[in-house]
Symmetry: C2
Subunit: 235 residues, 2 copies
């Protein structure tokens, strides 16, 4: 927890907040802070700054906020990610939130196992929890939007044109394609397939929407590694 | 398992191999291959190619190898990594092996918890297992070397000069430093600190050995994310 993240509702009119949950425990047991100490804090979808500890009790921490600066700039990317297997989804959500992705589409593709859509990891509260951990890690406040698209073809044919308008459109796919570009400095829509990759038909559908296939070399990376490697190289 | 990885001792004079372990199960239950099918295969620290299934029994798979090509090129990097917490170590070993790191030094620093050195994850057989998973993932055969340095100062002062000779020397550290360079195309020695970072004294010791501090932006990444992000950007 590099940033204490609060909801607007938790903050009173004096800019104070009283915590009794895992954040209270983390401040007391991991950070080991006492009255008068400060830590970095921010409000979800709002400003960052510091929080000063006014009071420490065994079961609560009371803090006074001083918020004055913008969170880090978001990555200018819309990420289209074939739904990963549940454990990898959890980690990928934290990685990509920490890296600054603000718009994520989790989509079905041919090689996504249908059972993944039934996983408890897809419950809104579980997704939210991983996004919060990613924000706390990266000292960011701006929650990513997460969208679900369970039908690939209608999504690509009917919705992607406007979603990806005025952006560079890339699909990461192993094979005889150009190397993934570096440091692109422009708005991007990036599609990443499941374990086993997109099928040819899906690549064709994406190409018909203006996507270019690019590759990262002959090493095949796990989805969570590929997401980080692609974003680090592109931005 | 994108590559079936074998030891030289498993292969008989006719180039055949008989498997009864998890690889046999994976071929039968995950890949669902039958007699006459082929899959990609390689020998640890040796060549890659294909294996044809000669025989499938409930408890064994017999294959014939045809190995003829070199594994993917290694990354020209020596990675100095402050020992991560055990679960993160496991994942980091798989990520960095999949990315092509062949020389890894796991080192103690001030902010590495001493208890991490007692973890069962540091047993040679556990380390080996994660390296093998990373190689299978990336279709590589060349095992990384892993070294342990439990005393930071003697390692940096007495051993690092020769270890890092003729390489670009970078230490990733958040702060007011130049951005991490891209696409460096040269031999690199890269130091990455623990959660909480290096302490100033450690940065000074590394600088005295010719290391330049570089940073990845204001977002603080977990060690496993940072390793992938740095390598993807540098190579």
């Amino acid at each position: 927890m590099n940033l204490l993240l609060l909801t607007p509702q938790e903050i009173d009119e004096q800019g104070c907040v009283q915590l009794t949950d895992r954040r209270h425990q983390h401040i007391q047991q991991v950070h080991r802070l006492n009255k008068g100490d400060t830590l970095q804090a921010g409000v979800i979808n709002g400003l960052c700054g510091e929080a000063e500890i006014l009071e420490q009790q065994p079961h609560l921490t009371r803090l006074k906020l001083n918020l004055y600066r913008q969170p880090p700039a978001p990555l200018p990317v819309t990420l289209l990610l074939a739904l990963p297997r549940p454990r990898m989804l959890a980690r990928s959500l934290e990685h990509l939130t920490a890296l600054g992705v603000k718009k994520l589409v989790l989509m079905h593709t041919n090689r996504v196992e249908k059972s993944f859509w039934q996983s408890p990891e897809l419950k809104p509260e579980k997704i939210h929890q991983h996004l919060i951990l990613g924000l706390e890690q990266a000292k960011d406040t701006q929650l990513p939007e997460v969208h679900f698209k369970k039908r690939f073809k209608p999504f690509v044919e009917d919705e992607l044109t406007s979603l990806a308008a005025n952006s560079l459109k890339l699909v990461a796919h192993p094979g005889n394609y150009p190397s993934c570009p570096r440091n692109i400095n422009q708005q991007l829509t990036l599609a990443i397939g499941p374990e086993g990759g997109f099928i040819d038909y899906e690549i064709e559908l994406l190409k018909a929407q203006g996507f270019q296939a690019v590759q990262l070399g002959e090493r095949i990376l796990r989805v969570e590694t590929a997401v980080t490697a692609l974003l680090a190289r592109l931005f």
